[in-house]
């Protein structure tokens, strides 16, 4: 394993995956909170024509040209979505789907044109479909890190403006913030994050890099800042893991492996996070129900004792069952363990009888202390 880390390509890949993860995790948090989860999908598919255009303009596979092209068409796609939403009666799902598929179609057409005319370079372009980490160059890394750091710096600088605009755009407008402009900047930054990740994860799967880290992080924290940081870290982690596996096993596309790592992390988060996780909340629900049942059973025993004017009245378990509406045995046992009730089986043919203990009576408040006279 250690030998791996000293390998030049592997180092490049890990660094690239780190950058990809940090930006897509951080910006994806905002995308998801603003309910624009699938925007990432549209942006990544819309990057395809830009990649082809960049290649055509530059004449070769020059990463800055490809990325610039991708960013331009991605932003154009976002603008198209806004245009469709604002000026027609199409709804957001249709607008996103239209932009996604049409820009991608243009990309397919351009790609075929490139294939027809250019010759050798196009193989490199195809790697953008599913990502091929091994194809990344050190020089690519320089470009990527500059862009990544710039966008993270911008995020930090405009943090509170993005926060309030995402949470309550109406209020943000009322305090004079340029909401439309901020939205545009945020969209451009999400587009940049998407474009940065394309080389590693590919066009098709980039949307997962935007959505999954945010969803996973949200399960662990209730604060925006920790959620964003955690999302960035989880995305980076998945990126590194996926990239490493891909680098070691030839012929496995990087993108799917990263996404699978991310999916595992997300599922684990959804299931096991404290408080919000499925297991935790199901346990909490069970506990609440148990508490409720315990209170109800204590009330039932007390009520029966009062009716019969006998603090030590023994209630037949069947009666408690029917009063509770479900079988009371487990609840009674739990209460017994807590010392609040005790059982009496002196008439075995009639099944167990139960009554409140002294502690139980006290817990219920003093209606039975005097031996029954209320």
């Amino acid at each position: 394993m250690l030998a791996l880390l000293t390998d030049y390509t592997v180092q490049t890949v890990i660094l690239g995956a780190l950058l990809l993860g940090l930006t897509s995790g951080a910006l994806g948090s905002f995308a998801v909170l603003r309910q624009q989860s699938l925007l990432g999908d549209a942006l990544s598919h819309a990057a395809l024509p830009g990649i082809a255009l960049g290649f055509l303009v530059a004449g070769s596979r020059s990463l800055p040209a490809l990325l610039a092209g991708a960013l331009i068409t991605a932003v154009a796609a976002a603008l198209t979505i806004t245009l469709l939403l604002r000026r027609s009666r199409l709804k957001s799902d249709a607008a996103i789907g239209i932009s996604l598929s049409l820009y991608f179609a243009v990309g397919v057409v351009l790609l075929s044109y490139v294939q027809g005319s250019a010759g050798a370079g196009q193989a490199g372009l195809e790697s953008f479909l599913f990502g091929q980490a091994a194809a990344m160059l050190r020089s690519d890394l320089v470009v990527m890190s500059v862009l990544a750091l710039a966008s993270l710096a911008l995020l930090l600088a405009l943090w509170k403006e993005f926060e309030v605009t995402s949470f309550d755009p109406v209020f943000a407008a009322s305090i004079g913030l340029p909401v439309v402009l901020l939205d545009a900047v945020m969209t451009a930054m999400i587009a940049l994050a998407v474009v940065l990740g394309l080389q590693m994860v590919g066009v098709v799967l980039m949307s997962a890099m935007i959505v999954a880290p945010a969803v996973a992080a949200r399960q662990w924290t209730d604060r925006l800042d920790s959620m964003t940081i955690l999302a960035a870290l989880l995305a980076a982690l998945s990126g590194v893991v996926g990239a490493l596996i891909s680098a070691t096993a030839r012929g496995l596309s990087t993108g799917p492996l990263i996404v699978l790592a991310l999916t595992v992390i997300t599922l684990v988060s959804l299931a096991f996070a404290p408080k919000r996780g499925w297991i935790a909340s199901s346990l909490a629900r069970r506990r609440a129900r148990r508490n409720l049942h315990e209170h109800q059973v204590l009330d039932i025993l007390q009520g029966l004792a009062l009716r019969h004017d006998d603090a030590a009245y023994l209630s037949e378990e069947g009666m408690v069952d029917s009063a509770l509406g479900v079988r009371a045995r487990t609840t009674l046992q739990q209460l017994e363990r807590q010392g609040l009730v005790e059982r009496d089986s002196h008439r075995p043919e009639e099944g167990p009888h139960w009554r409140l203990t002294a502690e139980g009576r006290e817990a219920q408040g003093n209606a039975l202390h005097s031996g029954g006279k209320a």
Binding site: D41, R87, S88, A94, L100, A105, V108, G116, L129, F130
Partner: protein, 374 residues
């Protein structure tokens, strides 16, 4: 008859047209239900279905594939739905989580097991009509008639479904609550829609690949939705657009030597743009005309109201005069003259020397504003 099938253009155009019709028949309902992106999810997830079926049975097309993929498509939507219901994840994010995960599993399996077979992820994504690295002549072999046959069957299937269940689909799309009350089981219809969408996606992947399938499913119905309000018309118009896109797309693609499938999809976009701009009811041009008309109406009303409010005024001689309009309504001289001329022409006011007098029609218009009826 066999000659027709030997004609490459015919088979290609026919396949494309049928994909378009089959997809848009179902897509119409998905767009109207705001579930356009289910096509995206299904389209990507069926890759897993295709791979699993191939691993299990060795089949790469045919009814088994159709069913297997249908199952995968439905499973995707059901999984996303289940995820949403846990309340941890929103609907859009749920989709963005599930389909990349399933797609990734599919691609990894492909990478590992299916290196050489004709199902490679690339083909699945871009389809064979669009796979221009192959000589298009070879398509005239067995594959197009095969794909053509299956897409034909699926088109008939969809046509039958939409015709037989037209009323139920209509109601459950526009008023699901009412449909349930009528016992029309909108949920079952929804599942039926999903199954057929998945089946159509598989039948299409041979021809156009999954992403272009999304274009065919969403774009023509969206264009039709911008043109008409009637469901039956929308279905008809979108089918017509699908066919027209197929024909024109083929022609242009051959002329420019680019991806045929891609060009067909791009043409659907062209038709959408035309509808977006020129639709007599909802197009951009129509909107602008309406906006101007509203502006004009607003100005006319302002004049009428002003005159009406000062009619019984002793100063009416000063108030209801052209020059007074400039001070009171803050209109420039030109604008004031234009509005007055319009109102005179429209029969709202009369000139009495330099005074402006309301006619009965003008007064009625003013009163409408001054005393809005509830």
């Amino acid at each position: 008859m066999a000659d027709v099938f030997a004609s490459i253009p015919f088979t290609i155009i026919a396949t494309g047209a049928l994909v378009g019709v089959a997809a848009s028949l179902l897509g119409t309902f998905l767009v109207l239900r705001r579930s356009s992106l289910t096509t995206d999810a299904i389209g990507h997830a069926i890759v897993l279905g295709i791979v699993l079926v191939w691993l299990a049975t060795g089949a790469t097309s045919g009814p088994v594939q159709l069913l297997g993929a249908a199952a995968a498509g439905v499973a995707t939507v059901l999984l996303a739905d289940a995820l949403t219901r846990t309340k941890s994840v929103r609907t859009d994010a749920a989709i963005g989580l599930v389909f990349p995960a399933l797609f990734s599993i599919g691609v990894v399996l492909l990478n590992v097991f299916a290196r050489s077979v004709h199902i490679d992820a690339h083909t699945v994504l871009l389809g064979e009509i669009g796979f221009i690295w192959l000589d298009t002549v070879s398509i005239a072999g067995l594959q197009v008639p095969d794909a053509l046959l299956w897409i034909f069957v699926v088109t008939i299937l969809n046509l039958v479904f939409v015709t037989v269940f037209f009323k139920e689909l209509e109601l459950s799309t526009f008023d699901p609550a009412l449909a349930t009350a009528f016992g029309l089981a909108p949920a079952a219809l929804g599942v039926g829609l999903l199954v057929l969408t998945s089946v159509t996606a598989v039948a299409s992947f041979d021809a156009v690949g999954v992403v272009l399938f999304v274009a065919f499913a969403i774009v023509p119905p969206s264009a039709a939705y911008l043109i008409s309000d009637r469901l039956s018309h929308i279905l008809g118009i979108s089918s017509a657009i699908a066919v027209a896109s197929s024909v024109s797309g083929y022609g242009l693609a051959v002329a420019m030597d680019v991806s045929i499938g891609g060009m067909m999809a791009v043409m659907t976009g062209v038709f959408l743009t035309l509808a977006f701009l020129l639709s007599p009811r909802y197009g951009l041009v129509a909107q602008e005309l309406r906006r101007r008309a509203d502006l004009v109406l607003g100005e006319n009303r302002a004049l009428a109201v002003h005159l009406c409010q000062h009619e019984d005024d002793p100063n009416a001689g000063e108030e209801n005069v052209l020059t007074a309009l400039q001070t009171h309504l803050r209109w420039e001289d030109n604008k004031a003259r234009k509005v007055v001329a319009r109102c005179v022409d429209g029969g709202w006011i009369l000139r009495d020397g330099s005074r402006l007098v309301l006619t009965d029609m003008g007064r009625a218009a003013a009163i409408e504003i001054l005393q809005p009826s509830k």
